[in-house]
Symmetry: none
């Protein structure tokens, strides 16, 4: 079984386009009380800020270690799994999990050696659809329909709490690994999606239709499959051969 500190260090809380610095501080405090340390900030509106520090109430190690990124892709670097929190039911084609289900899945992925991200959007607008599209699943905290606006730090607290409870409940041996190879990380998956997109162009798959929906469906399918690096190499090889055929076909036109 993996030590708790190892596991908790594989979980990161990613706050995207946070408006209020006080919420970053409160989130840091929530993260720290539940035994986690890593926070990543994507384009925070005001950071650093004295209000961040005031609301963190001493969770200085979380703040000191917080990394600031320009985009979500950078914040997900090295992760093999990402969960996007959403207050509303969304028109996104993603599995919807409860915080408890997400905590169990996140912990299982961390036990297998992966890095896992919990992603929280802007206070007012939440996550953009294209940000959710980088996630493997959506997490909805079961608020009431007529008043679903959890404060950002409250949402972080609920998720961190469920992860903590899941970790404390971890008395069972580690689950058998799904793979003997290392899991593909977010950057590798992005390169793979770019390769698919290019190949679909090369083999003239779209025939004038918009590639957007197809790419969303392919993302969803392959993110769901939680591929390892060897599987990814195999698929890259297949795509490369399809591209080679397309090139031969075109050269000889």
């Amino acid at each position: 079984m993996t030590a708790a500190s190892d596991l908790s260090s594989r979980l990161r809380f990613v706050l995207v386009r946070t408006s209020h610095p006080g919420n970053i501080g409160s989130a840091a405090r929530a993260i720290r009380t539940m035994g986690f340390t890593r926070m990543d900030l994507v384009s925070p509106h005001r950071y650093p800020d004295r209000e961040v520090t005031a609301m963190a109430a001493g969770a200085d190690d979380v703040l000191d270690g917080a990394r600031v990124h320009a985009g979500l892709i950078d914040a997900l670097a090295g992760t093999s799994m990402a969960f996007g929190l959403s207050a509303r039911r969304r028109e996104v084609n993603l599995p919807e999990l409860t915080p408890r289900e997400a905590a169990a899945q996140a912990l299982a992925a961390a036990e297998r050696g992966g890095q896992v991200a919990l992603v929280f959007g802007n206070e007012r607008t939440g996550l953009e659809n294209e940000e959710l599209a980088r996630c493997h699943a959506m997490v909805r905290i079961p608020s009431v329909d007529d008043f679903s606006s959890l404060n950002l730090a409250q949402a972080v607290q609920v998720m961190a709490y469920e992860l903590r409870v899941a970790m404390l409940g971890e008395t069972m041996p580690a689950p058998p690994p799904l793979h003997d190879e290392p899991p593909a990380d977010a950057a590798q998956m992005e390169r793979f999606f770019e390769h698919i997109a290019q190949t679909l162009d090369d083999i003239d798959f779209h025939k004038g239709r918009s590639p957007t929906m197809i790419m969303l469906r392919l993302r969803k399918l392959f993110l769901r499959a939680h591929m390892d690096e060897r599987e990814l190499r195999m698929l890259h090889g297949i795509l490369a051969d399809a591209q080679r055929m397309a090139q031969l076909a075109n050269e000889k036109k």
Copy 2:
């Protein structure tokens, strides 16, 4: 079974000697998002206060209904059970419950027709021992030992969340399907694997190597993804275009 609204009206959140009005507002919001309505305040330091309203973010019905009491005894009037939240392990002779255990017991008591209180102490000093002595059990949120100071509204959020999950567990609808399309059945998957195998031949992927291992890996990957019929049609389409390119390439040799 009792209706959810009846049950939730039997649960009250009691905030004792709260220092910061913003915390009362945030607590009201947390209570409201989880479907509860009743808040009782014991000797709040500043109340009413504009900061309460600001942080409540529209949870006006909770604020409007909030009752202010001089002492905890008044706030517990009519209750048959009270749970005292405590951040620290205490020298009090009370059963110590997790939030989840407390939620289950609180719900069971409410189902039996009782009124139940969740009692939260002052931000800095918590509940006095004589206040805890009025409770039937102590609830400790499992924070880490070296940083156990949950913000008051965060503690309210965790407890309200656990109560909400416990209540939903009573009436939980079936989980939404992962797909809106019918899942692919075994025969459809076999036809898909035949199509992949044929395509790999056509695009000269194997280059003399045995196809067996590759096909096993592809089977494993795609079976794991639990695809639906629409996804399968999309992949068949991609394979067909790759085959078309291979045919063009070969025709022109």
